[in-house]
Amino acid sequence: MEMFLKIVLIVIFAPILGGFLDGIDRRISARMQNRLGPPLLQPFYDVIKLFGKESIAVNQTQIAYAFGHLVFAIAALVMLLLGQDLLMLIFILAFSGIFLIVGASSVNSPYSKIGAQREIMQMMAYEPIIVLMTVGVFLITKSFMVSSIFEFDKPLIYYMPLLFIAFLFVLTIKLRKSPFDFSTSHHGHQELIKGVTTEFSGTQLALIEMTHWYDLVLLLGMVSLFFAKPIWVGIIIALVAYFLEIVIDNISARVTWRWMLKLSWVFGLGAALTNIIWLYITLK
């Protein structure tokens, strides 16, 4: 019963937090560009407006894919905040991404289909790093459960600093920030019109926006796991990482998929593998 109450609270309050962070992102980005920027509640206005639009469905299955994308992202976040299995959480998150890819592939628009293929490339770029991070957690705490990270005596970042840097690559790709935002781009920017989300409109687009908020809270939660022992330090580190992502977004240009794979596999995966090998040797 208590767990059910926790789940309800997470499902209701996480998107509110995610929406505020999104609003802060747009405001800070605008200030960096010497503009004023929208009010902080703007993402909420956008999503509520989208729910009020007429439904245009290109095919019958689109809304199911948008819902699947949302539901699995909520499931992954609930698993993280209830201290459950990290490896399972990552597979469920990947499943959520697959729903978006299949939903975008199910329409006949070439923009949508190419966007879906680019989204697959993005998943190929960041999935290995996230799995290696989980392997690192297992090597240190001998368990895949998130709750064991909280029971461990030292903060994880002392053991996996390079994995933290590799995780920043994951954060840039997942949050759809330049230089890695080419399957669909965020507000105001256009890439392949809107890439993956071109043919979604109204309620479906609102669901995808809300999924982005849940993903934001999930990813910042995973960043704060690196310094979980007083959790408020982890949260501050997560917010600093978010600010760093906003800076990186504003100073870089979009790259092609070849560059993204090169950068994230050579530097991200290289750093992650170095850290894992070092952990394996020293913790033997």
Binding site: A30, N34, R35, D46, K53, G188
Partner: protein, 152 residues
């Protein structure tokens, strides 16, 4: 429920997403429309975002006097937009055909093809006037939404 309706109305007015098309214009008014996005005029503080996708847009900002080829294009874009939607005709050519009104190929303004909600005159229209026009169109969206529900 009063609060839900008020919230929906407020959100509709505070988040007008724009799709912009140049229907046989000289590009002068289009440059002014894009100038609105720059830091000097900064329309994002009103929640206006230039999404290039008619399926995501609420307000259709059109410039140019129309000919037969661009007539088909603006009809297609307008039909793809989900309700509630509004059309803003920017520039003298879009309002009445401007100096090209007597030409054999020019239809003479957007309202020969689409139902226009806001006319922004000028050659070329100033960014302040364009922002004012989009703002007015955003205010009309709520009434259109109410009519949308009643007809259904």
């Amino acid at each position: 429920m009063g609060i839900m309706e008020k919230l929906k109305a407020k959100s509709r007015a505070k988040s007008p997403w724009v799709v912009h098309y140049d229907a046989t214009s000289c590009n002068g008014c289009d440059i002014e429309v894009l100038a609105c996005l720059t830091p000097v005029y900064d329309v994002e503080r009103f929640g206006i975002v230039n999404v290039g996708n008619p399926k995501h847009a609420d307000v259709f900002v059109v410039t140019g006097s129309v000919n037969e080829k661009s007539r088909k294009v603006i009809e297609t874009i307008y039909n793809q937009m989900p309700e509630p939607k509004a059309v803003v005709a920017v520039g003298a050519c879009a309002c009445t055909g401007g100096i090209f009104k007597e030409c054999y190929n020019v239809l003479g303004g957007i309202d020969k093809v689409l139902p226009v909600d806001v006319y922004v005159p000028g050659c070329c229209a100033r960014p302040e006037a364009i922002i004012d026009g989009i703002y007015k169109a955003a205010g009309m969206l709520e009434d259109k939404a109410k009519k949308m529900k009643k007809v259904e």
